[in-house]
């Protein structure tokens, strides 16, 4: 359980994001509330297009130009004298830039595309080091080599002068992690960090992330669509569907007793080693609705086996209250009442 004495380092409240498109405005996030705690891993899980990555980018204010935060707050160091609402900062100003990399580091999905092929690993690492606290070129290079060593890259003193295209996918993702750690942030957001890697490399990268997160007491927000990764890594889990957090729970509780019909369906569709031969995998009926065609009422009702006609399709259940386990579902509300 989340320790109430343990203050969050980042708290997201009622965050809503919209994208302007040719066809009109699309709401990508709706009333998203999350807390990140030092030394804990928050897993964010959901199908593609549910708003996981948009949440991460909105927190750092690096949404594409057609996207904007229309409501909500992202507070860094809430409750302290130096708390900052990141949504209130100028998007290209020096305050938000000192948060990017300096307080909140970002790790990407595609290690191939996330590094520039035009500059050496050392050049890109030293830039990330020097932009926040410039120790001078010599010291920055030493630190870059130390970082590469820390993320488990063999022969870091030669690899520092290599170009990303000379490294394997696993090594590139390690460079990506080193890049995110360069300015010693206390929050890390990892956006599908292992999706593009093979299974063996995935396990190594996850172990590395886990070790670094524990050693440095980092607040890690781990975005994935893989329930296996969640089970292995997360302390708490937020399940997202169509831009909303529809369930939040500590990881054991979520796997043992899922509340939301969507979470139950997600867990049923995880392949099971004990399954009988030729047994079909469970699937969730229907497909994620198009972004423009958001269903009325509860967004999951068209695919929900337990939908209550006349209720779920007219009114949306209340969003999950931050910090406590719960689900945005009338069934859960009824059971509690």
């Amino acid at each position: 359980m989340v320790d109430p004495m343990n203050h969050p380092i980042v708290s997201v409240r009622d965050l809503a994001v919209e994208f302007r498109q040719h066809t009109g405005t699309v709401r990508a996030l709706e009333a998203v509330s999350l807390d990140l705690h030092p030394g804990r891993v928050l897993g964010i899980v959901g199908e593609s297009g549910c708003g996981k990555s948009v949440t991460a980018r909105a927190m750092l204010r690096i949404l594409d130009r057609n996207g904007s935060i229309v409501a909500g707050k992202v507070t860094l160091d809430p409750g302290t004298s130096h708390e900052q609402d990141l949504t209130a900062l100028a998007p290209e100003g020096s305050e938000i830039r000192s948060v990017r990399g300096g307080r909140i580091g970002l790790i990407f999905q595609e290690p191939m595309a996330a590094l520039s092929m035009q500059y050496t690993v050392g050049n890109q690492l030293m830039e990330a080091i020097r932009v926040h606290r410039d120790p001078g070129k010599e010291k920055a290079r030493e630190r870059a080599i130390a970082l590469l060593n820390e993320v488990g890259i063999p022969r870091p003193e030669t690899r520092v002068d290599a170009y990303p295209f000379q490294l394997s996918g696993g090594l590139r993702q390690r460079v990506g992690i080193a890049l995110a750690l360069a300015a010693e942030p206390d929050v890390l957001i990892a956006d599908e960090p292992t999706t593009a890697l093979d299974v063996t490399t995935q396990a190594q990268i996850l172990a590395l992330l886990r070790r670094l997160q524990r050693d440095k007491q980092i607040a890690l927000m781990l975005i994935t669509h893989d329930m296996g990764v969640i089970a292995q890594m997360a302390d708490d889990v937020a399940v997202m569907y169509l831009g909303r957090v529809i369930e939040f729970a500590p990881v054991r509780e979520l796997f043992r007793a899922p509340r939301h019909p969507y979470t139950k369906a997600l867990l049923r569709s995880v392949p099971d080693l004990d399954a009988k031969p030729r047994q079909r995998l469970a699937t969730i009926g229907g497909a994620v609705p198009q972004p423009g065609a958001r269903p009325s009422g509860c967004p999951f009702h068209p695919r929900c086996p337990d939908a209550m006609p006349g209720r779920c399709d007219t009114k949306a259940p209340a969003p999950v209250a931050p910090g406590a386990a719960g689900a945005a579902c009338f069934l859960v509300e009824d059971a509690a009442a």
Partner: protein
């Protein structure tokens, strides 16, 4: 890397040989030869040439020998730096071309430099602020620039330059310097005359290059490494300039190869209108008069310039693109 350079060099040499053969064929393609054209010219002004005189002229210029002998004679002297005698001017080709080659290069490089200083910033702005009012204005001006013929622009600028600014327009030199020997004041006079033709030549080119830069950069801006750079906390201008712009510049390095000969051959009409002592108008006259040594030399020079340009852009690409430098492929 040395292998790569060596391969490029030998390819360039082979291409030059092929160009020289092609050049020769092109010169020989139109019916008749220089003597025919010369006779027709004389006849038009009332003179006549006897069959014997024509025959001896043909012999003198080697026009009565087989085609491959004519080519061999021509090319063997070309490699020794002897480009033959211009039949129209009755002076050595090197003398006729003379300063024109260097003046052409000066005008072309000025135009190229201007093209890039106009096109790159506007192209970058258009891509970064896609669909903004500024982007629409740049796009509109770009299309106007593409649509307006160069020579018309030259005429308009000449008119305004002369009428309202009192500039001496046309030519690359003022009257008193045209025949003068080279000196600092002649160079200064040249410098004063270059901007107008360079601007005329640069405008259409810029319109084209703005579109290229905009399209290249739009592709690069969507790539994840831009977000990585942003997430590091570096200022937006540096994010844009260091990463996507750098990547979008590669195609420009390769465009050097064809920009240069285009500036020479594409500028013939502008050079005529502005009375520029460059290679373009000379090529036109030589082709009309079937002056094969002069025309051949110019076409050959243009071809070789293209090959050298390609070589330069290959080396430049290798220098700015580490993947090419280290693996030999992009």
């Amino acid at each position: 890397m040395l292998m790569y350079i060596g391969r490029r060099l030998s390819l360039a040499l082979l291409t030059c040989v092929a160009i020289s053969i092609l050049t020769f064929i092109i010169i020989r393609l139109p019916p008749g030869d220089f003597v025919d054209a010369y006779i027709a010219n004389l006849a038009a002004s009332g003179g006549t040439v006897t069959a014997e005189q024509a025959q001896s002229m043909r012999h003198e210029y080697g026009l009565d020998r087989p085609v491959y002998i004519q080519y061999a004679l021509w090319i063997s002297r070309v490699v020794q730096g002897d480009f033959g005698v211009s039949m129209m001017w009755r002076r050595p080709v090197t003398e006729v071309i003379g300063d024109r080659l260097w003046l052409t290069m000066v005008v072309s490089f000025a135009a190229l430099f201007l093209t890039w200083t106009i096109a790159l910033p506007i192209g970058i702005y258009s891509a970064v602020r896609q669909y903004s009012i500024g982007d629409y204005i740049a796009t509109m001006l770009g299309f106007i620039g593409l649509a307006v013929p160069n020579f018309l622009l030259a005429l308009i600028l000449m008119y305004f330059g002369f009428r309202y600014l009192g500039l001496s327009v046309g030519g690359l030199f003022s009257a008193e310097y045209a025949q003068a020997p080279w000196g600092w004041d002649k160079v200064w006079d040249l410098a004063k005359h270059v901007p107008l033709p360079a601007a005329v030549l640069a405008l259409a080119g810029s319109a084209h290059q703005i579109r290229i830069m905009r399209a290249n950069l739009l592709d690069e801006l969507r790539k994840p490494y831009v977000i990585t750079a942003r997430a590091k906390g570096i200022p937006e201008l540096r994010v844009i300039m260091k990463y996507p712009v750098r990547a979008a510049l590669n195609p420009f390095a390769s465009s050097i190869a064809y920009v240069f000969p285009y500036l020479v051959s594409g500028s013939i009409i502008v050079s005529l209108v502005l009375g520029l002592p460059t290679v373009g108008p000379l090529l036109l006259q030589a082709l009309v008069a079937q002056d094969m040594f002069l025309a051949g030399t110019i076409v050959l020079l243009l071809g070789i310039m293209t090959v050298v340009g390609t070589l330069i852009s290959d080396l430049l690409l290798m220098w700015i693109e580490p993947r090419l430098r280290l693996t030999g492929r992009s």
